[in-house]
Symmetry: C2
């Protein structure tokens, strides 16, 4: 099976590496060519364009940043796709973009397959994949997805993977709001923070985010994890999806506004737990 991997960012690069490690014939491409250098040194084929990488591949994976990037890459690869090829987009974009991409690659097959588990999950090959699309196409794609996934869940037709990721991001953003506001309050009350993290994590207040980011945020370390600029982008997608349903989501809107404030301060690359900066100002 010939595989093409398009987009070698913090997620894509380790994912492509896992695919090559499993022995698949892999060709990669990245918009900024320098990011492909490490993979080239390992003997992985690097194509000069997305179209070249995808031409003749059995499975084409995308891992890029935003809706317009996905559709731009789709338009570059669509003419050269071989009959029966499968295109899998692991980017986080809207369900509408997933459906549009599926139409543009037809008669080739399409799966939307956004990811959860972060950079750590990509590195150790333990991502959770939320898949929308045809069930038979997913069965054929599993050997490739299993290179980097611990869990692959079929959520429904094309778009259902992105819908699931949107729900996931509502929870992620709202939990960050709760945890950061609570910890800033605890700091202001003068509580010993190490014991506080222990007590909170032992009961009904516990969360993945408190366990993984509680200590680092209290130590002012915001350099690894999930960039807040990307969560802000995802929340924009969620807001547009909700508006098309006639809904305004208060938790989402509050988090979107908070991350906008942090973006305005130039903090795109900080981890989402940097939200505690704003929460501390409530007590200033």
């Amino acid at each position: 099976m010939r595989i093409a991997f398009l987009g070698l960012g913090a997620m894509g690069e380790p994912m492509a590496r896992h695919i090559a490690d499993k022995g698949f014939a892999l060709t990669v491409w990245n918009r900024t060519a320098a990011r492909a250098a490490a993979l080239a040194q390992r003997g992985i084929a690097v194509a000069a364009s997305a179209g070249d990488a995808a031409c003749g591949a059995d499975v084409v994976l995308l891992c890029v940043s935003a809706d317009r990037d996905v559709l731009a890459v789709i338009d570059q690869i669509a003419p050269g796709l071989k009959p029966g090829a499968i295109v899998i987009d692991t980017s986080t974009v809207s369900a509408d973009t997933a459906r549009e991409a599926a139409q543009r690659v037809a008669p080739a097959h399409f799966l939307d397959a956004p990811l959860s588990g972060g950079v750590e999950g990509a590195r150790n090959g333990r991502l959770s994949v939320m898949v929308g699309g045809n069930a038979t196409t997913l069965v054929q794609s599993r050997p490739v997805l299993e290179c980097f996934a611990a869990r692959i869940t079929h959520m429904g037709e094309v778009g259902a993977g992105q819908a699931t990721k949107a729900v996931n991001q509502v929870m992620v953003a709202g939990i960050a709001e709760a945890v950061c506001e609570a910890l800033a309050f605890g700091e202001r009350l003068g509580l010993p923070t190490e014991r506080l993290l222990g007590v909170l994590g032992a009961g009904a207040a516990n969360s993945w985010f408190l366990e993984k980011r509680g200590a680092s945020m209290l130590d002012e370390r915001f350099d690894s994890g999930f960039k807040l600029g990307l969560l802000h982008k995802d929340l924009g997608i969620v807001r547009a999806m909700a508006e098309r349903l006639g809904a305004h989501l208060p938790v989402v809107n509050a988090a979107y506004a908070d991350y906008q404030t942090l973006l305005d301060e130039g903090r795109f690359d900080e981890e989402i737990s940097a939200l505690i900066r704003l929460k501390r100002r409530l007590f200033a």
Copy 2:
């Protein structure tokens, strides 16, 4: 060591039972006498008044509902406390009420010791206790607290236990907002809910609340867990504490308003996950 236990509600009754099971000489009291009947049948002494129960006891535990109840009981027991007695309040009240109670029982000793772990934790004797007060007093009290606690954490002087509980409740309330809004969104998007819970719980969106209450709220079961009327009361305490610091906490204020709406509909006794009722209306 002679122990008095005052307040035999859903938490207090199993806690008192654990103390008796460990062989301590126990006298109990409850405002509504009928609630003491089950303990009386097990041979536990039941007093006619809080003052009678506490008179001559080495350790007096309180487990009641609200700030004014705590101070009323304190005033009833203070005159009969023996020199060196320890009064431990496990209710969730303000840090100010804890400091006031400590003054009223002096020269007897006082610890504020609110709980986390819910009715399940009280039943299986695995509560987490957040303690404020003198360290030596806590050392003397440990054998009694260990009857019903898996974890006992000293957080600082009198009031620090209640301050910790307030921080805990900010997290609990904010996480409920995030999880209920996200799951209502997922329902509206038509996603298969059982798979959705599995995917969300496998990654960065996970929380104690999603794990323990996700399935029951989607099944419309709100009859066991943490009553939303009590969380609303706790959030009122948090708001007052924050206001004394000159702060308004957006996550807390939003949750307080939502639970007020549910209280206005007569839902005091429903579990806090009944918040999903309001979140579903966002899509109506």
